[in-house]
């Protein structure tokens, strides 16, 4: 099998059983790989209603068919399981070297089941797979863990996915660290590893990865490369990395601060805008096969954090610690980055837990008797770092914060749930839907992993015209010549764009964008705008046909994305998410920011329209039996569907 290794490795930690099975080629064609294969594996291997921290949860690492080749950014790995934070599908994507290494070791997916009796880690060295005692690593932070594992195995170049103390202590938003500076951050997958007594999964391989039609593949990769490098976002992203989007979102008027209570002011952009990064950025670093190299290596040579050298000041951490918590200098955000990486906790939910508590403190809903005497206030850097430590070790007040905002509200009561910014269990960050209603913010309601912004983003959007207040179905349209350049199939362009009325349909674009990003996350390439926005079904069909040697039409690719959207919705429905749960946190409907709040009924109409776009029943948000049959998913039908 070209492109794929054709093998899935299953490890049952309860009985140390290691087995291999062949990937059926139809599964590859239907679900592509990465996120798609993970979704299929979870539906096949577990009951979505189980307790996410029980040994019944299944943790799967999926690497797409392009990964390991030199197709630009083909380095991504998706990890999925049921989320202990949201109760929905937990899933997260990260790059660098782990994915390519797994392909060179000969596997497309790893499936981890059960629970080890004592702490262990897994070492995959080509077909030699070992479960190794990790007692001496338990209690170590992720950086120490990586150093020790590499030394112990004598494998300096192995790739390490591991948990820090956050995962060991079952912090509900613990991350899995991807080497020193990356992470599968969202939805608490580190806690799933911790619950299995699994400290790390280490890979090293040197097997060949083959291509069905090398010349055609080379051609398709050249075309892909020039689409990416010629995209207007390429240059700014290679200069500023993701920080470029801090200014973009600020200029849109979309960023709110202090746990999303008010619009951020000029001091935010003056101190945290992208230009500030260049004071500290020394060079650009890339994941494997990436021409963009979006990660900055930063060195802090002044102030209280002088001497800190680290990869990555990113938009997400800037929004989490800057907008949400009130930090106003990038070195402090770099320092926060060191902490969340070493502890192995997700920066967004960590900041959201602290932000929520700070907001409740400000509103006198909690006081010092709840916080072990700590006075919570905005922008207090050392207090935030101390709280992150307490979270990771579940120490004192940190034990409550480690449960995440939704559970904090349940525990505290006193009307605190009105202040939550969590939609479907996950914080909606970067853009506040009240001040910017568009495909991106609507996406929080349909994203398979809960209310964040990373799984439903349009490849093209009108940044210049503000969305008119009160309009929910359409966002401002785009000129035909702009749309012509976007790789979306014509049939869908007709449904999405109306050039006469100058509108873009939010529900139709959302369905199309979600399917597209599913494909991106399944093939194993990066969702950064110069990549995801410059590519689509047409180029993917060329790449896949040449790589695998099976003809993929652009429609096959689009349909695979649609299949994955349907499958992930089935997972969530079986985990208990109902149509009426597809709504924002109450705060967005009840309290205004800049005189704007959301209209619940109108948003409900958008959800119904989205169901229409998907040919789902608007009352259940579930596909009909015919729909499932047309996608080959009938065996996964929801019992109630």
């Amino acid at each position: 099998m070209h492109g794929y290794c054709g093998k899935i490795l299953t490890i049952d930690l309860s009985n140390s059983k290691i087995s291999e099975c062949e990937m059926i080629s139809k599964d590859g064609t239907d679900f592509l790989g990465g996120f798609g294969m993970n979704t299929k594996i979870l539906l096949d291997e577990m009951e979505p209603s189980i307790d996410a921290l029980s040994e019944k949860n299944v943790l799967t690492f999926g690497v797409g068919p392009l990964v390991g080749t030199f197709a630009p950014t083909a380095n991504r790995t998706e990890i999925s399981a049921k989320s202990p934070l949201t109760g929905l599908m937990g899933t997260s994507n990260s790059g660098y070297s782990w994915g390519p290494e797994l392909k060179y070791a000969g596997y497309d997916n790893i499936v981890i089941k059960g629970k080890a009796e004592k702490p262990v880690y897994i070492f995959i060295n080509n077909e030699n797979v070992r479960i190794i005692d990790a007692m001496n690593l338990w209690g170590k932070n992720s950086w120490e863990t990586i150093r020790e594992i590499k030394a112990q195995l004598g494998q300096k170049e192995a790739s390490v996915a591991c948990i820090g103390v956050g995962g060991e202590n079952l912090v509900r938003f613990a991350s899995i660290e991807n080497g020193f500076y990356g992470a599968w951050g969202r939805t608490g997958l580190g806690a799933v590893m911790g619950s299995k007594n699994l400290k790390a999964v280490v890979v090293k391989g040197n097997r060949d990865l083959t291509v069905a039609e090398p010349e055609k593949f080379q051609e398709a990769v050249s075309e892909m490369r020039s689409s990416i490098t010629n995209h207007p976002t390429f240059k700014p992203w290679s200069t500023f990395g993701s920080m470029v989007a801090v200014d973009v979102n600020y200029d849109l008027g979309a960023v709110t601060g202090y746990d999303q209570s008010e619009l951020v002011g000029e001091d935010f952009i003056k101190n945290l805008g992208r230009k500030n990064l260049l004071k500290y950025k020394k060079r650009s670093l890339a994941c494997t096969a990436c021409p963009l190299a979006c990660s900055p290596w930063v060195e802090i040579d002044e102030g209280p954090y002088k001497g800190l050298k680290i990869k990555g000041i990113e938009i997400t951490s800037t929004m989490d610690f800057g907008a949400r918590l009130g930090f106003r200098n990038l070195p402090a955000i770099a320092k926060a980055t060191e902490y969340f990486q070493k502890f192995g906790i997700d920066c967004s939910t960590a900041a959201a837990s602290i932000g929520f508590a700070t907001k409740l403190f400000e509103e006198n809903i909690i006081d010092k008797s709840d916080t072990e005497g700590l006075e919570l206030k905005w922008g207090d850097e050392s207090l935030v770092f101390e709280l992150m430590r307490k979270i990771a070790y579940r120490e004192g007040f940190g034990d409550l914060l480690a449960e995440g905002p939704v559970r904090i509200a349940k525990k505290i009561g006193r009307g605190s749930e009105e202040y939550l910014t969590q939609t479907r269990g996950l914080e909606t960050n970067i853009r506040d839907p009240r001040v910017r209603w568009d495909v991106w913010t609507f996406g929080a309601l349909i994203n398979p992993r809960g209310g964040d912004h990373l799984r439903v983003q349009a490849s093209v959007e009108n940044y210049k015209t503000p969305c008119p207040e009160g309009e929910y179905i359409y966002e401002p349209g785009l000129p035909k010549k702009v749309v012509d350049k976007v790789d979306i199939l014509d049939e869908w362009k007709e449904k999405i764009f109306d050039f006469e009325k100058n509108t873009t349909s939010i529900p139709y674009m959302a369905a199309s964008a979600q399917d597209h990003l599913n494909v991106v996350n399944s093939l194993g390439i990066c969702i950064r705008p110069p990549v995801a926005w410059s590519l689509g079904p047409k180029i993917f069909s060329k790449l896949m046909s040449a790589l695998i040697g099976i003809e993929y039409s652009p429609e096959d690719i689009r349909k695979a994305g649609e299949r994955i959207s349907n499958a992930s919705r089935l997972f969530n429905a079986r985990a208990g998410e109902k149509r009426e749960d597809l709504k924002f946190a109450p705060k967005y409907y009840n309290s205004s920011v800049n005189d704007r709040k959301l209209d619940k009924n109108k948003i409900d109409e958008v959800v119904s329209k989205y169901c229409e776009a998907r040919e789902w029943d608007p009352n259940t948000a579930l596909p009909s039996h015919e729909k499932l049959k047309s996608l080959g998913l009938e065996k996964y039908a929801n019992p109630k569907g």
Binding site: F70, A286, A293
Partner: protein, 79 residues
Amino acid sequence: MNDYLGIDQRLCTGCKTCALACSFNYFGVFNPEKAYIKVIRHEEAGTFDIVIKNGCIPCKICEESCPTKALIFIQREEE
């Protein structure tokens, strides 16, 4: 004339595209360990070493594939 490959470490991002292009061109497969150019990432320090292995012609494939022009193909007169 005897050509050799110059490496500008400051421009290298550690992407390994050069090694992948090399192995694909000479062996028809992707396998960085087979490539005649090796990129060693010192991940914690954020630095790289590039080593040219025995067998390198040099042929310009890696230079052409490098997105940052960190590899420079230098022609030198024979002494």
